[in-house]
């Protein structure tokens, strides 16, 4: 068996179902960054029955506030931020079609229930490894909320971006299993 599975965005539910927590994945395609303030705005738009500036259908959100790009690079260091801070907004985004999320750390029971309901997946990536992860980002485009600076939504074109399945579509949770060594 290969050490990891490769998947490409957009991700259909069919692609996500076989993934089990603990599996290593390499991602190709697009990751949309969004963290605290972008989540608050998206949740407000959805609560007001308004359209989001981009479609979440079968897309992946990456909890990340990248460093500015030094000359000649697509982006600076761009590792994951704490996912738990996005928990309050996540069920609404899953209802809007989001297929998966990338971040670090535990999720709330409500988020895990919503993940199961929508047959979505929560991935973790390498915590605190922003330099290494930036090597997997080939291009960056501003999508919306440009006034938020690092907290705006950017589309990252990624290649072989390393992920670990943290919560799978059946609710299997790597963090729950970790303590029971």
């Amino acid at each position: 068996m290969a050490e990891y599975i490769t998947i490409t965005t957009p991700v259909s539910r069919t692609m996500l179902q076989p993934l089990a927590c603990g599996q290593q994945v390499r991602l190709n395609g697009i990751l949309y960054t969004a963290r605290d303030q972008a989540h608050r705005r998206m949740a407000q738009l959805l609560a007001g029955k308004k359209k989001l500036p981009f479609s979440l259908e079968n897309q992946i959100i990456y909890y990340c506030g990248p460093n500015p790009a030094p000359a000649g690079r697509a982006v600076g260091a761009c590792g994951p931020t704490t996912s738990g801070r996005m928990d309050a907004f996540t069920p609404a985004l899953l209802s809007a079609g989001m297929a998966a999320m990338v971040g670090k750390g535990e999720r709330s029971a409500a988020v895990i229930a919503a993940i199961r309901r929508h047959r979505a997946v929560y991935f973790a990536t390498y915590s605190g490894c922003g330099a290494l992860l930036s090597q997997h980002v080939q291009a960056v485009r501003l999508v919306c909320f440009g006034d938020l600076g690092t907290e705006a939504v950017y589309a990252f074109a990624v290649r072989d971006f390393p992920l670990i399945v943290a919560v799978d579509a059946r609710g299997g949770n790597i963090y729950e299993q970790a303590g029971q060594a």
């Binding site: 460093n67 590792g79 670090k104 750390g105 390498y126 915590s127 605190g128 600076g149 907290e151």
Partner: protein, 279 residues
């Protein structure tokens, strides 16, 4: 009286900002290597290798080790026979902000913590000043990310609290920090003084190199015991499980009041960054 030019301080701070953010401390790199050799879980070993590779990429490409380049925390020790040509705290804060901008590190400072309507800023970091004997100025810069800073804790114990209660509090602080604070951690513990002193000692203890033992034998024993208990928690690298939950525990203490026992725990992620300059 020795007078140090503002320019000299500015240059030193700029150097520290680049070094601390792009070069993982040699003692941390060595501890990661040792941990990777000992880690019992396969996924844990794989994650420790990723951390080591990240440090290599950051140094080679002059990239930030972590995108959370933190709040720059500076500890300054100024000799009693030294004068700096400009107000030192302001000088350090301005120099750090300029260097963060110059090296493309993220502006992570929110000027208005409650209303949060202002734009992210590079200014100001945090500066702690101590006046010591001599004619040198020593600076340590510790960029502190908030994934781990958010998990720091403080408790005011009764002076009669059994030691086991204090130890349990420290170990539980680490357990509750969990995966989102980026384990394996370095755990800084500050004991004594007043509430504010304990918190400062906990932060300052992170400056001690991981390969240096506590000079107090009894405290060194306490640190080793705490480290064993923390690594038995099973949190592991990135929280995916394993025998490496912390790389080290460092305790600093100072005298306190007969009625109290302040204990602070400051958690550092595996990207424990600091650099020092002596002027």
């Amino acid at each position: 009286m020795r007078v140090i030019a503002a320019r000299t301080v500015r240059d030193a701070v700029e150097r520290l900002v680049l070094e601390a953010n792009t070069r993982l401390r040699p003692d941390v790199r060595a501890a990661l290597q040792t941990a990777a050799a000992r880690e019992k879980k396969k996924i844990g070993r794989a994650m420790l290798h990723a951390v080591a590779e990240n440090a290599r990429v950051a140094a080679r490409e002059r990239l930030a080790i972590c995108q959370d380049t933190g709040l720059p925390v500076v500890f300054a020790e100024i000799g009693h026979r030294v004068a700096v040509a400009e107000p030192l705290v302001e000088l350090i804060k301005r120099a750090a902000a300029a260097a963060y901008r110059r090296y493309f590190f993220r502006a992570s400072i929110q000027p208005d913590p409650l209303r949060r309507e202002k734009k992210m800023s590079y200014f100001p970091g945090v500066v702690h000043i101590d006046i010591v004997r001599g004619e040198r100025l020593r600076l340590w810069l510790l960029p502190k990310g908030f994934g781990c800073e958010n998990k720091s804790q403080l408790r005011m114990f009764n002076p009669t609290a059994p030691l086991a209660e204090v130890e349990n509090f420290i170990v539980e602080s680490v357990r509750s920090a969990g995966a989102s604070a980026c384990p394996p951690f370095v755990v800084g513990v500050g004991i004594g003084g007043t509430q504010d002193c304990a918190a400062l000692l906990a932060k300052k203890s992170l400056l001690r190199r991981l390969n240096v033992r506590n000079r107090d034998q009894w405290l060194a024993g306490l640190e080793e015991r705490l480290l064993r208990r923390i690594n038995a928690l099973g949190v592991g690298p990135f929280g995916f499980g394993g025998s490496t939950t912390a790389l080290g525990v460092a305790v600093l203490e100072q005298p306190t009041h007969i009625a109290g026992l302040p204990v602070a725990v400051n958690i550092s992620c595996h990207a424990l960054r600091s650099a020092q300059a002596i002027i």
